[in-house]
């Protein structure tokens, strides 16, 4: 006996079976009649997010420290604002590349390449997170209360130093501080500080480094 014939002979079981199917089908199947109904959620769009960032100092230096002399009291500061201008969040990291180490005849610009007593290996660098811009219109943090991101040798930030996860539209300010640590008075200074011993060996030197903010979706 086919299942169809069996159900035809036992209408109560047919009704039970149909009721079960109706329950399972929710609003889809109404009765044994050929009524049908359906709902739809049209126009579903699937678009990828956008991760982009703006840098307040793109193309310009975060800081330019000219005529540095030994001592933390002679530190030079600079700030940069990084914004996640995309539509999705992103994990931000910071990378550093030492671009040059040169002699400097004027305490400002670079000259011939320097192979020893490099300024990049002597400077001290501090990077602080001043926090996010806030309010409407957004106001920059004043950096009076910061979180240390990095505090160490100028040339050792590395290629992927962790920062934080930015939400869409989040903008943060970073404070950079550079100084030449005081190694004490050189023992035998000559007429010029350049090329002497101790800290004098670092006189008349130039360095530059590039800091890159990388972000990937989280």
């Amino acid at each position: 006996m086919s299942r169809i014939a069996f159900l035809a002979r036992h209408p109560r079981r047919s009704i039970t079976a149909l009721a079960t199917l109706v329950a399972a089908g929710a609003v889809v199947v109404g009765s044994g009649a050929v009524f049908s109904t359906q709902t739809a959620n049209p126009s579903n769009t699937f678009a990828s997010g956008i991760l982009s960032q703006t840098n307040s100092n793109t193309g310009s230096a975060i800081l330019t420290a000219s005529n540095l002399v030994p001592g933390a009291s002679h530190a030079v500061h600079g700030t940069v604002d990084i914004k996640n201008s995309g539509t999705v969040g992103g994990v931000f990291t910071l990378a550093e590349t030492i671009a040059a180490d040169k002699d400097s005849a004027d305490g400002v610009t670079g000259g011939a390449d320097r192979t020893s007593n490099k300024l990049s290996q002597a400077l001290h660098l501090q990077i602080e997170d001043c926090g996010a811009w806030s309010g409407s219109p957004a106001v920059a943090p004043d950096c009076s209360s910061t979180t240390s991101i990095y505090d160490g040798a100028f040339d050792s930030v590395g290629s992927s130093h962790a920062l934080s996860t930015y939400g869409s539209g989040e903008q943060r300010r970073y404070k950079f501080t550079v100084y030449l640590p005081d190694g004490g008075t050189p023992g035998s200074p000559g007429a010029t500080s350049v090329g002497g011993s101790g800290d004098n060996a670092l006189s008349g030197a130039f360095t530059s480094a590039t800091f890159t903010w990388n972000a990937v979706t989280n």
Partner: protein
């Protein structure tokens, strides 16, 4: 009955299709692209250069003054200009060393009056007045980059100190200029 079942089957397929679409939509809501690695970057430089402290002493290696044949009542003087030709300012200091006297007692250096004045501009600024033997060092102050100052060194033999034992006496001293940032 077969027609009813076919209709039922069609309805079930549609329901399943809708269920699948709903599930796909839910999965797409912020999840579907999470495995992707959208990336972006920006860069900014830092430039730093250390300064240069450089002193120019045109009389380096030679005497500021040579006072030969002095006698009580005489005054001799010499001048010297010191420059900071570096790119940064420095704190300058003058010190004396290597004082020698012949004879050692009585010593000519203890008899001669000695003064150092800054005569760069305007009224002279006295830095030291005393005996030559009593001078050890003087603070000259800060020199800005490219600044130059002129100093006058003066020796006087007081007439009242005409000690015959100082005839033929000699004294010498070395002045050292030092600058720190």
């Amino acid at each position: 009955m077969n027609r009813q079942l076919r209709a039922l089957t069609r309805g079930t397929r549609k329901w399943l299709l809708l269920a699948c679409l709903a599930g796909l939509a839910a999965a797409t809501n912020g999840v579907l692209f999470s495995g992707a690695n959208l990336a972006t970057r920006t860069s900014s430089p830092i430039m730093a250069a250390s300064g240069i402290l450089k002193m120019t002493n045109p009389g380096a290696g030679s005497a500021i003054l040579s006072a030969s044949g002095m006698k009580p009542g005489d005054t001799r003087s010499g001048t010297l200009s010191i420059s900071n030709d570096g790119s940064v300012g420095g704190s300058y200091q003058l010190s004396a060393n290597g004082l020698t006297d012949t004879p050692t007692s009585p010593s000519l250096s203890s008899t001669l009056s000695f003064s150092i004045d800054d005569i760069t501009s305007g009224p002279a600024t006295n830095l030291y007045t005393g005996t030559l033997a009593g001078f050890s060092q003087a603070t000259l102050g800060s020199f800005t980059a490219s600044q130059s100052r002129t100093y006058r060194f003066q020796l006087s033999w007081p007439s009242a100190s005409a000690n015959p034992a100082l005839q033929g006496a000699q004294t010498s001293i070395t002045f050292a200029w030092k600058a720190n940032t």
